[in-house]
Subunit: 221 residues, 2 copies
């Protein structure tokens, strides 16, 4: 079960949504997707169902699938849970810190620094999210990593909906500061910086925009 074809469709749609090629509210018609991927509706439906569980799309009975448009309330709740998890994750990381693990994060921050120069918004958002996912993975707790991964793809959607343009550089700087505190094994500071960082990201969201919906064939090609 759980065919790899379905998984490919999920991946393709996830990228399209998180990278904002498919805007919130866009209708995802099953047959169109099926034609595009060269499969039957059966596999598309499986993929859509999985995406709905990840909250990247919503399924309305007899009406179909739509790219999710997280509300401000939902965004705040997701961030609240992230703060809970990531404060403790930071403590767990420091408890079992190793030079190799620190190197992974340092390398990642260096990569972020480079990407911030470029003008690719979705790449920036993806890298900024990955910092947190990497850190979760480095704790060695798969359950935590998976859970945080899910929250963060929801956040990517939220961020791309609401984040102001200048916020990305700020996030990258804060990641660098967090890694400094981790290197110094300074738990209190690291936890504080992580919590504040997430609060900053949340504060910078602007909830009073509306974005256009667009065409799926275009976005997936």
């Amino acid at each position: 079960m759980e065919s790899s074809t379905t998984h490919q469709i999920v991946e393709a749609l996830t990228r399209a949504i998180v990278e904002h090629r498919l805007h919130p509210g866009t209708k995802l018609a099953e047959q169109k997707l099926a034609d595009h991927f060269g499969v039957s509706r059966t596999l598309v439906r499986q993929a859509l169902f999985q995406l709905s569980q990840n909250r990247l799309i919503t399924l309305e009975p007899a009406r179909g699938a739509f790219v999710a448009a997280p509300t401000a309330t939902e965004a705040r709740q997701v961030f609240a849970v992230r703060r809970m998890l990531e404060a403790e994750m930071t403590r767990a990381f420091i408890r079992d810190v190793t030079p190799a693990r620190l190197k992974v994060l340092k390398d990642h921050v260096a990569q972020e620094k480079k990407a911030m120069q470029s003008n690719n918004a979705s790449e920036r958002v993806e890298l900024l999210g990955d910092f947190h996912v990497r850190m979760a993975e480095l704790t060695g707790n798969d359950v935590l990593a998976r859970m945080l991964g899910e929250l963060i793809s929801r956040c990517s959607l939220i961020t791309l909906m609401y984040q102001s343009a200048t916020a990305a550089q700020h996030s990258a700087d804060e990641h660098a500061d967090i890694v400094k505190a981790l290197v110094a094994r300074d738990e209190a500071t690291a936890v504080r910086l992580m919590t504040e960082h997430l609060l900053h990201v949340e504060e910078n969201l602007v909830f009073d925009r509306k974005l256009p919906t667009n065409d799926i064939a275009l976005a997936l090609s």
Copy 2:
């Protein structure tokens, strides 16, 4: 989409698994389930897929669905995440505590006390899990509540696989102590008691058993 029939099947199977009428490892054949619920395999497959996302069953390619048998490692990871989330949840609860919310928890503890007398193991486990879910719901954060709900149904499966018989009463007592600390608005104590409680539950798991698998027709009837 997301027909209510599928949801009913998910609910029925979840209860059967969590209440231990279907043992870990049991094969769930699609056609047998379809016959039992009076639907086609299509709906059963949707339900199985959803259950696999909740980690209550595992799907093996071309071999089918089996009731999940969480490993000791997975159990420890799930509990680690619960400690992270629930420590912070306890803080959040106290931050916005109200008499009405405290009453809900007090009533629940009273209900637990009654149930501990009875001999119904699955009812006990369900009630003990619900204490934590209630608390999450009372924070008003749906994302948190749903996430914790999922972790706790995984825990129910783990607990029923591994929990020793005497542990239930102990848990109920600890829930009562936590509520006392909440009533006193004593954040530090409440958080400590919650963390210790989860550690106790985890410590009491016995990882060296093996349980028999059984018949699905019997379990669902």
